[in-house]
Structure formats: structure tokens, C-alpha cells
Symmetry: C2
Subunit: 174 residues, 2 copies
Amino acid sequence: MEFHQIRYFVAVAEELSVSRAAERLHVTQPALSRQIGVLEGELGVELFERIRKRMYLSEAGRWFLPRARQLLCDAETAVQQVRERFGAARLTMRLGFLPVFLDDLVAPAVREFRQRHAGTQVSLFELPPRAQLDRLRARKLDAAVLGEEPVTVEVETLVSLLRDQAGLQIPEGR
Amino acid sequence: MEFHQIRYFVAVAEELSVSRAAERLHVTQPALSRQIGVLEGELGVELFERIRKRMYLSEAGRWFLPRARQLLCDAETAVQQVRERFGAARLTMRLGFLPVFLDDLVAPAVREFRQRHAGTQVSLFELPPRAQLDRLRARKLDAAVLGEEPVTVEVETLVSLLRDQAGLQIPEGR
DNA sequence: CAGAGTTACGCCCAACGTAATTATA
DNA sequence: TATAATTACGTTGGGCGTAACTCTG
């Protein structure tokens, strides 16, 4: 059993729908469906009753849900506290973006970034392209996702840029 | 942060030695060393002080250790209880083996098997090859790892056999 | 036939192991 | 020189996404 499976279970339990939970978690429906299956297999217990393509919590699922939430909460708390007590000073990454790119580009990049650079914080600013450029030049943003017509910044590019150092700027040409 | 990293951290913290912990966990020293590093990176905190090739718990490590143990314990308890309360009747897998094969063959196979078939239990019997065959025929064992001279049963074969169904027997020819 | 869940299949990265490197007693 | 930790590097299995399938309203 791994934490991501617990998170997946809680999301599906809350939405009572694999599709909606998948959307919320930014994964595809089949991936989510399979992980739920793997978890149930590992527990040897059905957490949901599937009746006519709908999901309902089973008795076991209802019993497990609060424990699952508790585990996630405890883990998160422990991590937060060890950071606050013993971690280095927090850096803040100020990132401008256009709403269009939020789901496909910004969200995954930010998630990856926060995983890799735990000591940092990310602030997001929804701004039109021109404003982003202005603020980049004025050093009020550390990075920007703009790209007017064809999408020019690949996820991997962004991620590797973010990865290197808070304070990087994406070249203006793109 | 994932559960296996927490387990790794606790093991190293208890042994105060990556080598010994690696042996205990049946992984190699570098693998363990790196995962500890990954965890520290994710927390943004050094859990150990490395002085002159020796490991000592840092202040952060001492603070984190009891939380880590608690997380593992809570997770294990939740899993156990959901199995006991809602799981199907437990099957027992009776597996004969020769000591030679314990580390390389039996241990990983059993671990994988228990992960995949959570509702089952595995009982191990150290027996000489002849006795294993006798008991297989008498249905007192469900599977056996024998192979006198050249090792004849590959790990993957065993795992896939175990995987299919408790109650399988490994063909006698092997 | 539109929508929801599962199964099939191929890809890719994260974790692994082997080998080389560094440092200590 | 033996031992213990880390770094380098190639390999692989688990998780993901796309596509195909099944079932329901």
C-alpha cells in the first residue's frame, strides 16, 4: 500500500465517481481505476460496490475511509512540521501563467517542482502575457508561462527550468 | 514521500548503518543510500549526520523517527483490521524450501506473493528435497523449492506459479 | 448512442543492482 | 588494506496514457 493509492481511494470515495476523481487528481480514468483495483487486491477486500457502472462505498470502504484520511493527514503533518522545525529558510517561486495552461502545463510542473524542492514555496499569478513579461523584467516574477498561439513551452522544458533554480526566467522569445 | 522510504529510514535509524539496514531489508547498500537521500531532499532536511563514513541521527532525524514509526504502525494496523473485519477467509500457502534459496529465491517471491494476495498467509517449511516431494504428493505442501544441483526454478517462474493460485504444485520434474 | 468503468497494450521513469570512487580506521 | 558510504551507469518493473471493449440509461 502506498500513499498515492490512499489519496486515490479517498478521492474516489468522495466523488463516488472514477471519472470525476480522475479529473480532480489530474490522472486518466483507467489509471485511477486500476490503482483502486490494486489496492483492493492488496487489502483482499472490495472497497466499492460496483452496481451498473456506478460506484458505491462498500461497508469495508466506509470503515476504511476515515483511517485513510487520518493516515494522509498524519503524514502531511509530520512532513510539514519537520520542515518548519528543521528546514532551511523557505524560498518562494513566483510563477505567472495563462489559465489555458493551468491543467496541462502548470499543475504537473508545479507538483513535480514542489516534490523535488521541498524547501520552497510556489506562488501562482494568473496574468496576461504582456503583464507577465513586464513583471519578469521588473523581477516581480521568477518564471512565466505565456506562449500566444502555438504552445511553445513544453512541459519538460518548464520542469527542467524550474528544477535548476528558483529565480530562472524563461527566454522571452518563446 | 512513500511508505517504503519511511521503512528504509526507520531501518537505517535503528541500525545506524546503511550496510546492515540494507541487509535486513534485502536491498543493496547503494539503493538504500539513495532512497535516504531522496527522502531528505523531499523533506528539505538532513535526517542523518555523516561524520567520517558513519551515520548518526541528526536532531531532525531524532524528532522524525517516532512519527515515522507511528505512520508505519497506523498503516499496518488499518490494513490488518480491514482484512480481519471484511476480508475473505484466509488461505494458507505452505511452501517447502532449502535454506540455500531463502535469500535469493524464496524471500522475494514470498514478499511479492503476500503483496498480491493479501488475503492469504504463507507458511515456510525448511525441508530436504526428498521430504518436500513426499509432502507435495501427500498434499501437505502447496509448493516446493528444491532443485538439487543446478538451480532449476527461476524466481519469475516461482512467482508466477505462486501468483496464480494457492494450491499449485511445481511440476515434479524440476 | 452517449457516458461510465474495465481490460489490453505499449511507453517511460523511478528504483534497483553492479561497478567504480572516496574516505576512514 | 578492509570496510563503509557515495557516485556513475545501465537495466527493469510499476504506473501511466491511448485505444478498444462492455455495460447501462
